[in-house]
Symmetry: C2
Subunit: 340 residues, 2 copies
């Protein structure tokens, strides 16, 4: 079993010309069955793999797909990134995962790095409010891009996300139906979803004939649990809650809220003897393990990741962006647990 240096050598061993072998590696279905079998047999025997750098240098378009999430330490993004990676691999692409770690500079650096990888396309979940719009625009001019999770108007050729209005409608209606109308617990919005959720909350409450009550707490960044915890403590101690039902802008805030309630000895839930009901939005991977488990609206991870990748694949196949920018929103599923 000799060491094979390049495709030339490998081709010689198979008795097939190099261009045909090259064709095989680009698409095994593009060569005759008999040829394919001979190459595959040799492949088992000699363990040769084309040099990925030489391939990417010469192909006009690589098979790379860049994936960028704002904050990978959030299991929500870890989970959706995992699904997207899987689908890219299955489609014959080479996904490369990046996290902006919540910082604009990092996001911009990554966009730069990504561009030098000459990717066939990119799936971006931008930071949102902290994103550098100009940098994103420039990137999208060079690379076919689909945005997901966090929408930025006019950026990318498509956006796949969640129907925040529907999410909020579901949970607010549920809460109103089963108890006191909720107040809305939020922090300074980091992305458009947070704004849409607040506005949807206000709209739904008014539609149902209730007075909306938005409680904004201090603190920013991506350490949501901490912000929620500290904000909740301050709010509880100052007695600023005018209802026994709290809808948090997202699950991670809710997790912090629950911690604060526990610390103050307030029992959370809908059962007898409970002081408060707390609900979230997202169905974060950890939400079923909070105390009590968190009532929330589940993001449709599966659909979002599927549609995002498929939209990008279509975009890659059909050269030239479509006439209109597409936005696709998925509905959520109410997940009733013990907290509300």
């Amino acid at each position: 079993m000799t060491k094979i240096r390049n495709m030339e050598e490998f081709a010689r061993l198979t008795g097939i010309s190099r261009p045909t072998v090259s064709k095989f590696f680009n698409d095994p279905a593009s060569v005759r069955v008999s040829t394919r079998n001979r190459i595959e047999k040799a492949l088992e025997q000699y363990d040769y793999r084309p040099n990925i750098f030489a391939i990417n240098q010469n192909r006009k378009l690589t098979k790379n797909i860049g994936i960028l999430v704002p904050y990978l330490a959030d299991p929500f993004f870890a989970e959706i990134a995992r699904k997207i990676e899987r689908r890219c691999i299955d489609a014959g692409f080479w996904p490369i995962l990046f996290s902006a770690h919540g910082e604009q500079k990092t996001e911009n650096d990554i966009l730069d790095s990504l561009r030098s990888l000459k990717p066939a396309g990119a799936l971006l979940a931008p930071l949102g409010r902290r994103s550098d719009r100009a940098a994103l625009e420039q990137f999208c001019r060079a690379v076919p891009t689909v945005l997901f999770d966090s929408n930025i108007e006019g950026i990318g050729t498509a956006f796949i996300g969640s129907d925040n209005a529907h999410f909020v409608g579901q949970i607010v209606e549920y809460l109103c139906r089963t108890g006191e109308p909720p107040c809305f617990f939020e922090m300074q919005p980091v992305n458009p979803n947070a704004n849409k959720r607040r506005n949807a909350y206000i709209a739904v409450m008014e539609r149902l004939g209730h007075v909306p009550n938005v409680l904004r707490v201090e603190g920013g960044g991506w350490d949501f649990e901490k912000v929620g915890y500290e904000g909740a403590l301050a709010m509880l101690d100052a007695n600023r809650l005018t209802t026994n039902t709290v809808l948090c802008s997202n699950d991670r805030l809710a997790i912090g809220f629950l911690t604060a309630c526990y610390e103050r000895g307030l029992k959370v839930g809908y059962a007898e003897g409970c002081a408060l009901r707390v609900a979230g939005i997202d169905d974060h991977p950890f939400s079923r393990f909070t105390c009590p488990p968190l009532t929330t609206v589940a993001q449709d991870y599966e659909s979002v990741s599927n549609r995002s990748t498929e939209t990008l694949f279509q975009l890659i196949d059909s050269d030239g962006p479509p006439a209109t920018r597409v936005e696709m929103l998925f509905e959520g599923r109410l997940v009733m647990r013990a907290s509300a």
Copy 2:
């Protein structure tokens, strides 16, 4: 501002020969100051970047560093991966992050992909029990590799991890000092750390004159919270607990345990009226937000990531592996919260 196609064109614009420009990009300090200034000035003006694929094709060794973690959806690994990435970038390398998603096949596939990237080195946190030892050995023969978090004897040229004996010693002594000696709550071990922790628990208990009590629950995989939750429910309902103090093999198991306790109406903590004390090991990012917040032993993320990367950098600089395989273990810090 014309578009620059390659280094040739760029070099012409600066009036310097291409190889000298190439030298500059590999190490700006290796060219004369006057030359450097001219290039840097042109760089601001023309926005040229060398083609990464052409670079990597020709360099005997790339600047890539592969990072592999067993399960990126675990914020612990997300966090340590983030720190490692940062340090690689600062050192002028190009980190590429992969997750095995808890599966051997994925881990092996990634090792293959990684090898074709001809990385200067790799930082691996192997799956552990599920890892394919032969595949890892083969990989390590081709790539300078440092293992972290999870040790596999004889694999890689160094291992950087945690001193599980010290971790367990600290928390067991604390628990014994402040209440009943703990039992040890574990699942089927996924990696050597779990085994070391159990054995350390037994040793410490015996040293302190107590009878060790290991409770193993059903269930495998990487869904630790779920395993802990279901295992705890079964254990509580069958009344198999002979002590009021539970030390969980890791924080994620403990999180599940707390959820089960909450569901059964058992108050956890050391305060008056509490039925159980529960402690974990790791200081998982979410452990301070459980109800009650989790007493645990904190991993020294910072030191582990720092030493891992620095060890690898040294290994890369000095060609040829060192005479002996180094193992470096960091101690933990007891984090006292309300749960125990």
